[in-house]
Symmetry: none
Protein backbone atom coordinates (compact mmCIF):
# COMPACT_ATOMS: atom_id res chain seq x y z
CA UNK A 1 0.00 0.00 0.00
CA UNK A 2 1.42 3.38 -0.99
CA UNK A 3 1.95 6.15 1.50
CA UNK A 4 -0.81 8.16 -0.12
CA UNK A 5 -3.25 5.28 -0.01
CA UNK A 6 -2.44 4.64 3.61
CA UNK A 7 -2.96 8.32 4.30
CA UNK A 8 -6.37 7.99 2.75
CA UNK A 9 -7.46 5.19 5.03
CA UNK A 10 -6.29 6.59 8.32
CA UNK A 11 -5.73 9.91 9.97
CA UNK A 12 -7.96 12.91 10.21
CA UNK A 13 -10.33 13.89 7.48
CA UNK A 14 -8.07 16.83 6.63
CA UNK A 15 -5.09 14.52 6.34
CA UNK A 16 -6.97 12.15 4.13
CA UNK A 17 -8.03 14.98 1.87
CA UNK A 18 -4.47 16.19 1.54
CA UNK A 19 -3.18 12.70 0.96
CA UNK A 20 -5.56 11.98 -1.87
CA UNK A 21 -5.97 15.46 -3.29
CA UNK A 22 -4.22 14.49 -6.48
CA UNK A 23 -6.72 11.75 -7.13
CA UNK A 24 -9.68 14.07 -6.75
CA UNK A 25 -11.66 15.40 -9.68
CA UNK A 26 -12.50 19.03 -10.31
CA UNK A 27 -15.81 19.04 -8.42
CA UNK A 28 -14.27 17.02 -5.64
CA UNK A 29 -11.42 19.47 -5.25
CA UNK A 30 -13.89 22.30 -5.07
CA UNK A 31 -15.65 20.41 -2.32
CA UNK A 32 -12.39 19.51 -0.59
CA UNK A 33 -11.34 23.14 -0.48
CA UNK A 34 -14.69 24.22 0.89
CA UNK A 35 -14.41 21.60 3.62
CA UNK A 36 -10.90 22.68 4.54
CA UNK A 37 -11.77 26.35 4.49
CA UNK A 38 -14.44 25.91 7.06
CA UNK A 39 -13.00 22.97 8.90
CA UNK A 40 -14.50 21.06 10.53
CA UNK A 41 -17.83 22.77 10.90
CA UNK A 42 -18.98 22.63 7.31
CA UNK A 43 -18.59 18.88 7.25
CA UNK A 44 -20.88 18.51 10.22
CA UNK A 45 -23.84 19.70 8.20
CA UNK A 46 -26.09 17.44 6.19
CA UNK A 47 -24.89 16.27 2.84
CA UNK A 48 -27.33 18.65 1.17
CA UNK A 49 -26.02 21.67 3.05
CA UNK A 50 -22.42 20.73 2.31
CA UNK A 51 -23.18 20.25 -1.37
CA UNK A 52 -24.95 23.57 -1.50
CA UNK A 53 -22.22 25.47 0.32
CA UNK A 54 -19.53 23.99 -1.91
CA UNK A 55 -21.44 24.46 -5.12
CA UNK A 56 -21.41 20.77 -6.02
CA UNK A 57 -24.09 18.13 -6.09
CA UNK A 58 -24.98 15.73 -3.31
CA UNK A 59 -23.67 12.63 -5.06
CA UNK A 60 -20.29 14.31 -5.39
CA UNK A 61 -20.13 14.67 -1.63
CA UNK A 62 -21.12 11.07 -1.08
CA UNK A 63 -18.66 9.85 -3.67
CA UNK A 64 -15.76 11.74 -2.18
CA UNK A 65 -16.51 10.39 1.28
CA UNK A 66 -16.12 6.90 -0.15
CA UNK A 67 -12.99 7.90 -2.01
CA UNK A 68 -11.48 9.00 1.29
CA UNK A 69 -12.02 5.56 2.70
CA UNK A 70 -15.29 6.04 4.51
CA UNK A 71 -18.32 3.88 4.15
CA UNK A 72 -20.44 6.89 3.34
CA UNK A 73 -20.83 10.52 4.17
CA UNK A 74 -22.32 9.91 7.64
CA UNK A 75 -19.20 8.03 8.61
CA UNK A 76 -17.07 10.98 7.55
CA UNK A 77 -19.28 13.17 9.70
CA UNK A 78 -18.76 10.86 12.66
CA UNK A 79 -15.02 11.09 12.15
CA UNK A 80 -15.14 14.88 12.17
CA UNK A 81 -17.15 14.79 15.37
CA UNK A 82 -14.70 12.56 17.13
CA UNK A 83 -11.77 14.68 15.93
CA UNK A 84 -13.54 17.68 17.34
CA UNK A 85 -14.09 15.91 20.62
CA UNK A 86 -10.39 15.13 20.82
CA UNK A 87 -9.47 18.71 20.09
CA UNK A 88 -11.86 20.19 22.59
CA UNK A 89 -11.05 17.73 25.33
CA UNK A 90 -7.39 18.46 24.79
CA UNK A 91 -6.86 21.48 27.01
CA UNK A 92 -4.17 23.12 24.88
CA UNK A 93 -5.70 26.30 23.51
CA UNK A 94 -5.07 26.20 19.83
CA UNK A 95 -7.11 29.08 18.65
CA UNK A 96 -4.93 32.08 18.36
CA UNK A 97 -2.16 30.24 16.69
CA UNK A 98 -1.67 30.52 12.95
CA UNK A 99 -0.28 27.20 11.99
CA UNK A 100 -1.99 25.07 14.55
CA UNK A 101 0.36 22.19 14.40
CA UNK A 102 3.36 24.42 15.04
CA UNK A 103 4.44 25.85 18.35
CA UNK A 104 4.10 29.59 18.82
CA UNK A 105 7.83 29.95 18.56
CA UNK A 106 8.11 28.27 15.19
CA UNK A 107 9.43 30.67 12.58
CA UNK A 108 6.20 30.34 10.59
CA UNK A 109 4.13 31.69 13.42
CA UNK A 110 6.59 34.40 14.33
CA UNK A 111 6.75 35.47 10.72
CA UNK A 112 2.99 35.46 10.46
CA UNK A 113 2.74 37.76 13.44
CA UNK A 114 5.25 40.15 11.98
CA UNK A 115 3.62 40.24 8.56
CA UNK A 116 0.25 40.75 10.15
CA UNK A 117 1.57 43.70 12.06
CA UNK A 118 3.32 45.10 9.01
CA UNK A 119 0.15 45.01 6.97
CA UNK A 120 -1.81 46.63 9.73
CA UNK A 121 0.67 49.43 10.21
CA UNK A 122 1.04 49.98 6.50
CA UNK A 123 -2.68 50.30 6.01
CA UNK A 124 -3.14 52.54 8.97
CA UNK A 125 -0.65 55.01 7.60
CA UNK A 126 -1.40 54.82 3.93
CA UNK A 127 -2.50 58.00 2.27
CA UNK A 128 -5.77 57.31 0.55
CA UNK A 129 -5.20 60.36 -1.58
CA UNK A 130 -1.84 59.08 -2.77
CA UNK A 131 -3.43 55.72 -3.46
CA UNK A 132 -6.26 57.08 -5.53
CA UNK A 133 -4.07 59.49 -7.44
CA UNK A 134 -1.51 56.81 -8.18
CA UNK A 135 -4.28 54.64 -9.51
CA UNK A 136 -5.38 57.47 -11.79
CA UNK A 137 -1.85 58.01 -13.02
CA UNK A 138 -1.38 54.35 -13.86
CA UNK A 139 -4.77 54.11 -15.53
CA UNK A 140 -4.03 57.05 -17.80
CA UNK A 141 -2.81 55.68 -21.12
CA UNK A 142 -1.79 59.13 -22.29
CA UNK A 143 1.13 58.69 -19.95
CA UNK A 144 3.93 56.24 -20.59
CA UNK A 145 4.69 54.27 -17.43
CA UNK A 146 8.20 53.24 -16.45
CA UNK A 147 8.86 50.75 -13.65
CA UNK A 148 12.12 50.15 -11.87
CA UNK A 149 13.32 48.35 -8.77
CA UNK A 150 16.51 47.89 -6.77
CA UNK A 151 18.35 44.69 -6.03
CA UNK A 152 15.80 43.32 -3.59
CA UNK A 153 12.75 45.00 -5.07
CA UNK A 154 13.39 44.13 -8.69
CA UNK A 155 10.98 41.25 -8.26
CA UNK A 156 8.22 43.62 -7.18
CA UNK A 157 8.85 45.91 -10.14
CA UNK A 158 8.67 42.89 -12.39
CA UNK A 159 5.45 41.78 -10.74
CA UNK A 160 3.80 45.15 -11.22
CA UNK A 161 5.01 45.30 -14.79
CA UNK A 162 3.73 41.85 -15.73
CA UNK A 163 0.26 42.59 -14.41
CA UNK A 164 0.04 46.07 -15.83
CA UNK A 165 0.98 44.72 -19.21
CA UNK A 166 -2.36 42.98 -19.38
CA UNK A 167 -4.19 46.13 -18.38
CA UNK A 168 -2.54 48.62 -20.68
CA UNK A 169 0.18 49.34 -23.22
CA UNK A 170 2.79 52.06 -23.02
CA UNK A 171 4.75 50.30 -20.30
CA UNK A 172 8.46 49.95 -19.85
CA UNK A 173 10.33 47.83 -17.34
CA UNK A 174 13.67 49.46 -16.69
CA UNK A 175 16.53 46.96 -16.63
CA UNK A 176 18.60 46.44 -13.50
CA UNK A 177 21.79 47.63 -15.08
CA UNK A 178 21.99 51.30 -14.22
CA UNK A 179 24.37 51.98 -17.09
CA UNK A 180 21.44 51.87 -19.47
CA UNK A 181 19.21 54.16 -17.47
CA UNK A 182 20.07 57.42 -19.24
CA UNK A 183 18.57 55.96 -22.42
CA UNK A 184 15.26 55.46 -20.69
CA UNK A 185 15.31 58.96 -19.27
CA UNK A 186 15.96 60.32 -22.72
CA UNK A 187 12.60 58.91 -23.84
CA UNK A 188 10.57 60.25 -20.93
CA UNK A 189 8.09 62.99 -21.77
CA UNK A 190 6.44 65.45 -19.40
CA UNK A 191 3.45 63.71 -17.89
CA UNK A 192 5.00 60.25 -17.99
CA UNK A 193 5.05 58.22 -14.82
CA UNK A 194 8.02 56.53 -13.18
CA UNK A 195 7.33 53.94 -10.49
CA UNK A 196 10.32 53.27 -8.27
CA UNK A 197 10.77 50.57 -5.66
CA UNK A 198 13.48 51.32 -3.16
CA UNK A 199 13.91 49.87 0.29
CA UNK A 200 16.96 49.89 2.48
CA UNK A 201 19.68 49.73 1.78
CA UNK A 202 18.72 52.48 -0.58
CA UNK A 203 20.43 52.64 -3.91
CA UNK A 204 22.10 55.82 -4.90
CA UNK A 205 21.53 55.22 -8.59
CA UNK A 206 17.79 55.16 -8.06
CA UNK A 207 17.99 58.58 -6.46
CA UNK A 208 19.85 59.91 -9.49
CA UNK A 209 17.31 58.29 -11.79
CA UNK A 210 14.42 59.91 -9.95
CA UNK A 211 16.13 63.25 -10.10
CA UNK A 212 16.73 63.00 -13.83
CA UNK A 213 13.21 61.77 -14.49
CA UNK A 214 11.71 64.67 -12.63
CA UNK A 215 13.85 67.08 -14.57
CA UNK A 216 12.37 65.57 -17.71
CA UNK A 217 8.90 66.34 -16.36
CA UNK A 218 7.96 62.80 -15.29
CA UNK A 219 5.87 62.13 -12.20
CA UNK A 220 7.59 59.83 -9.72
CA UNK A 221 5.71 57.29 -7.58
CA UNK A 222 7.72 55.59 -4.88
CA UNK A 223 7.29 52.40 -2.90
CA UNK A 224 9.62 52.37 0.06
CA UNK A 225 9.87 51.36 3.70
CA UNK A 226 9.00 53.29 6.81
CA UNK A 227 12.46 54.87 6.88
CA UNK A 228 11.83 56.35 3.47
CA UNK A 229 14.23 56.21 0.61
CA UNK A 230 15.76 59.61 -0.27
CA UNK A 231 13.90 59.25 -3.56
CA UNK A 232 10.86 60.52 -1.62
CA UNK A 233 12.18 64.04 -2.16
CA UNK A 234 11.45 63.70 -5.86
CA UNK A 235 8.27 61.66 -5.64
CA UNK A 236 4.79 63.03 -6.14
CA UNK A 237 3.37 60.09 -4.18
CA UNK A 238 5.11 57.68 -1.92
CA UNK A 239 4.01 54.62 -0.01
CA UNK A 240 5.80 53.80 3.20
CA UNK A 241 5.32 50.15 3.91
CA UNK A 242 6.40 48.32 7.04
CA UNK A 243 9.01 45.70 6.29
CA UNK A 244 10.04 44.38 9.69
CA UNK A 245 10.62 40.68 9.99
CA UNK A 246 12.14 38.24 12.50
CA UNK A 247 15.05 37.67 10.16
CA UNK A 248 18.17 39.30 8.85
CA UNK A 249 16.10 40.57 5.94
CA UNK A 250 13.06 42.65 5.57
CA UNK A 251 9.66 41.40 4.52
CA UNK A 252 8.30 42.73 1.26
CA UNK A 253 4.87 41.24 1.79
CA UNK A 254 3.22 44.52 2.77
CA UNK A 255 4.63 46.24 -0.30
CA UNK A 256 3.37 43.49 -2.52
CA UNK A 257 -0.01 43.82 -0.93
CA UNK A 258 -0.21 47.53 -1.75
CA UNK A 259 0.99 46.84 -5.27
CA UNK A 260 -1.70 44.25 -5.77
CA UNK A 261 -4.37 46.55 -4.41
CA UNK A 262 -3.26 49.24 -6.84
CA UNK A 263 -3.30 46.80 -9.73
CA UNK A 264 -6.81 45.77 -8.78
CA UNK A 265 -7.95 49.38 -8.58
CA UNK A 266 -6.43 50.29 -11.94
CA UNK A 267 -7.99 47.24 -13.48
CA UNK A 268 -11.39 48.33 -12.15
CA UNK A 269 -11.01 51.71 -13.76
CA UNK A 270 -10.13 50.19 -17.08
CA UNK A 271 -12.21 47.07 -16.93
CA UNK A 272 -13.62 47.08 -20.45
CA UNK A 273 -10.23 47.48 -22.08
CA UNK A 274 -8.62 45.04 -19.68
CA UNK A 275 -11.19 42.40 -20.42
CA UNK A 276 -10.59 42.72 -24.12
CA UNK A 277 -6.85 42.56 -23.64
CA UNK A 278 -7.13 39.49 -21.43
CA UNK A 279 -9.24 37.79 -24.06
CA UNK A 280 -6.75 38.66 -26.78
CA UNK A 281 -3.92 37.42 -24.60
CA UNK A 282 -5.64 34.10 -24.02
CA UNK A 283 -6.02 33.67 -27.75
CA UNK A 284 -2.38 34.43 -28.30
CA UNK A 285 -1.35 31.91 -25.68
CA UNK A 286 -3.53 29.30 -27.33
CA UNK A 287 -1.89 30.04 -30.64
CA UNK A 288 1.57 29.71 -29.13
CA UNK A 289 0.55 26.36 -27.73
CA UNK A 290 -0.61 25.12 -31.10
CA UNK A 291 2.48 26.49 -32.68
CA UNK A 292 4.69 24.56 -30.31
CA UNK A 293 2.96 21.30 -30.94
CA UNK A 294 4.09 21.14 -34.51
Amino acid sequence: MSAAARGAQNGTVAERIHARFDDLTRAERQLANALLENYPVLGLNSIAAVADASGVSMPTVARMAKKLGFDGFPELKDKLRSELEETITNPIAKHDRWAESAPDTHILNRFADAVQENMHQTLRQISLEAFNETVDLLADTEREVYVVGGRLTRALADYLFTHMQVIRGGLTLIKSNSNTWPHYVLNMKPGDTLVIFDIRRYEYDLLRLAEMARTQGATVVLFTDQWRSPVAKHAAHSFHCRIEAPSAWDSNVAIMFVVEAIIAAVQNLRWTETRDRMKALEDLFDQTKLFKKF
Copy 2:
Protein backbone atom coordinates in the same frame (compact mmCIF):
# COMPACT_ATOMS: atom_id res chain seq x y z
CA MET B 1 -41.71 37.83 29.18
CA SER B 2 -39.52 36.73 32.08
CA ALA B 3 -35.76 36.74 31.94
CA ALA B 4 -35.67 32.97 32.12
CA ALA B 5 -38.20 32.58 29.36
CA ARG B 6 -36.31 35.04 27.23
CA GLY B 7 -33.16 33.12 27.99
CA ALA B 8 -34.87 30.04 26.69
CA GLN B 9 -35.67 31.61 23.36
CA ASN B 10 -32.35 33.24 22.62
CA GLY B 11 -28.69 32.79 23.37
CA THR B 12 -26.54 29.72 23.10
CA VAL B 13 -27.86 26.27 23.72
CA ALA B 14 -25.91 26.16 26.98
CA GLU B 15 -27.47 29.41 28.10
CA ARG B 16 -30.93 28.19 27.27
CA ILE B 17 -30.39 25.00 29.23
CA HIS B 18 -29.25 26.94 32.27
CA ALA B 19 -32.10 29.38 31.97
CA ARG B 20 -34.73 26.70 31.96
CA PHE B 21 -33.05 24.08 34.08
CA ASP B 22 -35.65 24.45 36.83
CA ASP B 23 -38.46 23.65 34.45
CA LEU B 24 -36.86 20.45 33.29
CA THR B 25 -38.06 17.02 34.39
CA ARG B 26 -35.86 14.29 35.78
CA ALA B 27 -35.04 12.62 32.46
CA GLU B 28 -34.54 16.00 30.85
CA ARG B 29 -32.09 17.11 33.52
CA GLN B 30 -30.16 13.93 33.01
CA LEU B 31 -30.00 14.74 29.33
CA ALA B 32 -29.13 18.38 29.96
CA ASN B 33 -26.21 17.40 32.12
CA ALA B 34 -24.92 14.98 29.54
CA LEU B 35 -25.10 17.68 26.87
CA LEU B 36 -23.26 20.19 29.01
CA GLU B 37 -20.62 17.70 30.04
CA ASN B 38 -19.62 17.03 26.49
CA TYR B 39 -20.49 20.36 24.99
CA PRO B 40 -21.06 20.88 22.16
CA VAL B 41 -19.94 17.68 20.50
CA LEU B 42 -22.49 15.34 22.03
CA GLY B 43 -25.32 17.49 20.73
CA LEU B 44 -23.99 17.18 17.20
CA ASN B 45 -24.76 13.49 17.14
CA SER B 46 -28.04 12.01 15.99
CA ILE B 47 -30.95 12.07 18.38
CA ALA B 48 -30.56 8.34 18.85
CA ALA B 49 -26.90 8.63 19.82
CA VAL B 50 -27.65 11.48 22.20
CA ALA B 51 -30.46 9.54 23.80
CA ASP B 52 -28.30 6.53 24.17
CA ALA B 53 -25.32 8.41 25.59
CA SER B 54 -27.54 10.22 28.10
CA GLY B 55 -29.52 7.16 29.08
CA VAL B 56 -32.85 8.65 28.07
CA SER B 57 -35.20 7.94 25.21
CA MET B 58 -35.34 9.67 21.88
CA PRO B 59 -38.63 11.45 22.48
CA THR B 60 -37.15 13.00 25.61
CA VAL B 61 -34.43 14.57 23.54
CA ALA B 62 -36.89 15.86 20.97
CA ARG B 63 -39.19 17.20 23.66
CA MET B 64 -36.44 19.08 25.41
CA ALA B 65 -35.31 20.68 22.18
CA LYS B 66 -38.80 22.09 21.81
CA LYS B 67 -38.84 23.14 25.43
CA LEU B 68 -35.68 25.17 24.80
CA GLY B 69 -37.47 27.08 22.09
CA PHE B 70 -36.34 25.14 19.04
CA ASP B 71 -38.58 23.78 16.38
CA GLY B 72 -37.13 20.35 16.86
CA PHE B 73 -33.88 18.61 17.62
CA PRO B 74 -32.30 19.28 14.21
CA GLU B 75 -32.70 22.98 14.80
CA LEU B 76 -30.86 22.67 18.09
CA LYS B 77 -28.12 20.86 16.25
CA ASP B 78 -27.90 23.66 13.72
CA LYS B 79 -27.56 26.14 16.52
CA LEU B 80 -24.69 24.19 18.05
CA ARG B 81 -22.97 24.09 14.70
CA SER B 82 -23.21 27.81 14.16
CA GLU B 83 -22.00 28.47 17.70
CA LEU B 84 -19.01 26.32 16.95
CA GLU B 85 -18.37 28.16 13.72
CA GLU B 86 -18.36 31.46 15.56
CA THR B 87 -15.89 30.11 18.07
CA ILE B 88 -13.55 28.57 15.57
CA THR B 89 -13.60 31.29 12.94
CA ASN B 90 -10.55 33.44 13.01
CA PRO B 91 -11.14 36.09 15.65
CA ILE B 92 -8.79 38.49 13.87
CA ALA B 93 -11.07 38.45 10.85
CA LYS B 94 -13.38 40.73 12.73
CA HIS B 95 -10.91 43.50 12.37
CA ASP B 96 -11.35 47.05 13.25
CA ARG B 97 -11.12 48.58 9.86
CA TRP B 98 -7.70 48.38 8.28
CA ALA B 99 -7.29 51.73 6.63
CA GLU B 100 -9.37 53.74 8.97
CA SER B 101 -9.84 56.69 6.74
CA ALA B 102 -11.26 54.52 3.99
CA PRO B 103 -14.72 53.00 3.89
CA ASP B 104 -15.02 49.25 4.27
CA THR B 105 -15.90 49.01 0.64
CA HIS B 106 -12.75 50.70 -0.59
CA ILE B 107 -10.62 48.33 -2.60
CA LEU B 108 -7.82 48.66 -0.07
CA ASN B 109 -9.93 47.30 2.72
CA ARG B 110 -11.52 44.62 0.63
CA PHE B 111 -8.10 43.54 -0.52
CA ALA B 112 -6.79 43.57 3.02
CA ASP B 113 -9.61 41.28 4.11
CA ALA B 114 -8.92 38.87 1.29
CA VAL B 115 -5.19 38.79 1.92
CA GLN B 116 -5.76 38.32 5.62
CA GLU B 117 -8.02 35.38 4.94
CA ASN B 118 -5.59 33.93 2.41
CA MET B 119 -2.76 34.01 4.90
CA HIS B 120 -4.86 32.45 7.57
CA GLN B 121 -6.07 29.63 5.36
CA THR B 122 -2.62 29.06 3.95
CA LEU B 123 -1.13 28.74 7.38
CA ARG B 124 -3.86 26.57 8.70
CA GLN B 125 -3.25 24.03 6.01
CA ILE B 126 0.48 24.22 5.63
CA SER B 127 2.34 21.02 6.22
CA LEU B 128 4.94 21.70 8.85
CA GLU B 129 6.77 18.61 7.73
CA ALA B 130 6.99 19.90 4.18
CA PHE B 131 8.13 23.26 5.48
CA ASN B 132 10.90 21.88 7.63
CA GLU B 133 12.08 19.43 5.02
CA THR B 134 12.11 22.09 2.34
CA VAL B 135 14.19 24.27 4.59
CA ASP B 136 16.66 21.43 5.04
CA LEU B 137 16.83 20.84 1.31
CA LEU B 138 17.54 24.48 0.58
CA ALA B 139 20.10 24.74 3.35
CA ASP B 140 22.04 21.77 2.05
CA THR B 141 24.90 23.10 -0.07
CA GLU B 142 25.69 19.62 -1.34
CA ARG B 143 22.63 20.05 -3.50
CA GLU B 144 22.47 22.47 -6.41
CA VAL B 145 19.26 24.46 -6.23
CA TYR B 146 17.30 25.47 -9.34
CA VAL B 147 14.46 27.98 -9.22
CA VAL B 148 11.82 28.55 -11.87
CA GLY B 149 8.52 30.38 -12.17
CA GLY B 150 5.70 30.82 -14.66
CA ARG B 151 4.49 33.99 -16.28
CA LEU B 152 2.90 35.43 -13.15
CA THR B 153 5.18 33.78 -10.64
CA ARG B 154 8.47 34.59 -12.27
CA ALA B 155 8.78 37.51 -9.88
CA LEU B 156 8.51 35.17 -6.89
CA ALA B 157 11.13 32.85 -8.31
CA ASP B 158 13.36 35.86 -8.80
CA TYR B 159 12.71 37.01 -5.26
CA LEU B 160 13.61 33.65 -3.76
CA PHE B 161 16.67 33.44 -5.94
CA THR B 162 17.96 36.89 -5.02
CA HIS B 163 17.69 36.22 -1.31
CA MET B 164 19.07 32.73 -1.45
CA GLN B 165 22.07 34.03 -3.33
CA VAL B 166 23.19 35.79 -0.20
CA ILE B 167 22.74 32.68 1.88
CA ARG B 168 24.45 30.13 -0.32
CA GLY B 169 26.08 29.36 -3.64
CA GLY B 170 25.14 26.62 -6.06
CA LEU B 171 21.99 28.40 -7.16
CA THR B 172 20.52 28.71 -10.61
CA LEU B 173 17.58 30.82 -11.71
CA ILE B 174 16.02 29.15 -14.71
CA LYS B 175 15.14 31.60 -17.47
CA SER B 176 11.55 32.12 -18.59
CA ASN B 177 12.16 30.87 -22.09
CA SER B 178 11.27 27.20 -21.98
CA ASN B 179 13.33 26.45 -25.06
CA THR B 180 16.44 26.60 -22.93
CA TRP B 181 15.14 24.32 -20.19
CA PRO B 182 16.57 21.04 -21.45
CA HIS B 183 20.03 22.50 -20.96
CA TYR B 184 19.35 23.06 -17.30
CA VAL B 185 17.94 19.58 -16.86
CA LEU B 186 21.04 18.17 -18.45
CA ASN B 187 23.08 19.60 -15.59
CA MET B 188 20.87 18.34 -12.78
CA LYS B 189 22.32 15.63 -10.59
CA PRO B 190 20.53 13.22 -8.31
CA GLY B 191 19.93 15.02 -5.04
CA ASP B 192 19.61 18.45 -6.61
CA THR B 193 16.58 20.52 -5.78
CA LEU B 194 14.20 22.21 -8.20
CA VAL B 195 11.84 24.84 -6.81
CA ILE B 196 8.87 25.49 -9.07
CA PHE B 197 6.27 28.23 -8.80
CA ASP B 198 3.09 27.47 -10.69
CA ILE B 199 -0.32 28.97 -10.13
CA ARG B 200 -3.29 28.93 -12.43
CA ARG B 201 -3.42 29.03 -15.27
CA TYR B 202 -0.91 26.25 -14.95
CA GLU B 203 1.79 26.01 -17.54
CA TYR B 204 2.25 22.79 -19.36
CA ASP B 205 5.95 23.38 -19.88
CA LEU B 206 6.52 23.49 -16.14
CA LEU B 207 4.91 20.09 -15.82
CA ARG B 208 7.25 18.71 -18.43
CA LEU B 209 10.19 20.32 -16.69
CA ALA B 210 9.24 18.77 -13.36
CA GLU B 211 8.89 15.40 -15.01
CA MET B 212 12.30 15.61 -16.63
CA ALA B 213 13.92 16.88 -13.45
CA ARG B 214 12.54 14.03 -11.44
CA THR B 215 13.77 11.55 -13.99
CA GLN B 216 17.21 13.06 -13.49
CA GLY B 217 16.89 12.35 -9.78
CA ALA B 218 16.18 15.90 -8.64
CA THR B 219 13.81 16.63 -5.77
CA VAL B 220 10.98 18.95 -6.75
CA VAL B 221 9.48 21.54 -4.38
CA LEU B 222 6.33 23.25 -5.57
CA PHE B 223 4.59 26.48 -4.66
CA THR B 224 1.08 26.51 -6.04
CA ASP B 225 -2.50 27.56 -5.26
CA GLN B 226 -5.26 25.65 -3.57
CA TRP B 227 -6.27 24.05 -6.85
CA ARG B 228 -2.84 22.59 -7.16
CA SER B 229 -0.76 22.63 -10.27
CA PRO B 230 -0.42 19.22 -11.90
CA VAL B 231 3.26 19.54 -11.05
CA ALA B 232 2.24 18.32 -7.58
CA LYS B 233 2.38 14.78 -8.96
CA HIS B 234 6.13 15.09 -9.32
CA ALA B 235 6.83 17.17 -6.23
CA ALA B 236 8.29 15.83 -3.03
CA HIS B 237 6.87 18.81 -1.14
CA SER B 238 4.22 21.23 -2.22
CA PHE B 239 2.76 24.34 -0.66
CA HIS B 240 -0.82 25.17 -1.45
CA CYS B 241 -1.32 28.85 -0.86
CA ARG B 242 -4.60 30.69 -1.05
CA ILE B 243 -4.63 33.26 -3.80
CA GLU B 244 -8.16 34.62 -3.83
CA ALA B 245 -8.58 38.33 -4.36
CA PRO B 246 -11.40 40.76 -5.16
CA SER B 247 -9.98 41.30 -8.61
CA ALA B 248 -9.61 39.62 -11.97
CA TRP B 249 -6.26 38.32 -10.79
CA ASP B 250 -5.07 36.27 -7.95
CA SER B 251 -3.08 37.52 -5.00
CA ASN B 252 0.42 36.16 -4.59
CA VAL B 253 0.89 37.69 -1.17
CA ALA B 254 0.39 34.45 0.74
CA ILE B 255 2.92 32.69 -1.46
CA MET B 256 5.43 35.44 -0.90
CA PHE B 257 4.86 35.14 2.79
CA VAL B 258 5.67 31.44 2.80
CA VAL B 259 8.71 32.07 0.64
CA GLU B 260 9.98 34.69 3.06
CA ALA B 261 9.40 32.42 6.02
CA ILE B 262 11.38 29.70 4.30
CA ILE B 263 14.19 32.10 3.48
CA ALA B 264 14.30 33.18 7.12
CA ALA B 265 14.39 29.58 8.32
CA VAL B 266 17.17 28.61 5.91
CA GLN B 267 19.13 31.65 6.94
CA ASN B 268 18.79 30.62 10.58
CA LEU B 269 20.19 27.20 9.81
CA ARG B 270 23.15 28.67 8.01
CA TRP B 271 23.62 31.82 10.01
CA THR B 272 27.40 31.79 10.35
CA GLU B 273 28.01 31.32 6.64
CA THR B 274 25.28 33.77 5.76
CA ARG B 275 26.74 36.45 7.96
CA ASP B 276 30.14 36.05 6.31
CA ARG B 277 28.62 36.17 2.86
CA MET B 278 26.62 39.27 3.73
CA LYS B 279 29.74 40.97 4.94
CA ALA B 280 31.63 40.01 1.79
CA LEU B 281 28.75 41.23 -0.32
CA GLU B 282 28.74 44.62 1.42
CA ASP B 283 32.42 44.97 0.69
CA LEU B 284 31.91 44.12 -2.93
CA PHE B 285 29.14 46.68 -3.24
CA ASP B 286 31.36 49.29 -1.68
CA GLN B 287 34.09 48.48 -4.17
CA THR B 288 31.69 48.81 -7.07
CA LYS B 289 30.64 52.16 -5.76
CA LEU B 290 34.23 53.38 -5.50
CA PHE B 291 34.90 52.08 -8.93
CA LYS B 292 32.02 54.08 -10.34
CA LYS B 293 33.06 57.27 -8.70
CA PHE B 294 36.23 57.55 -10.72
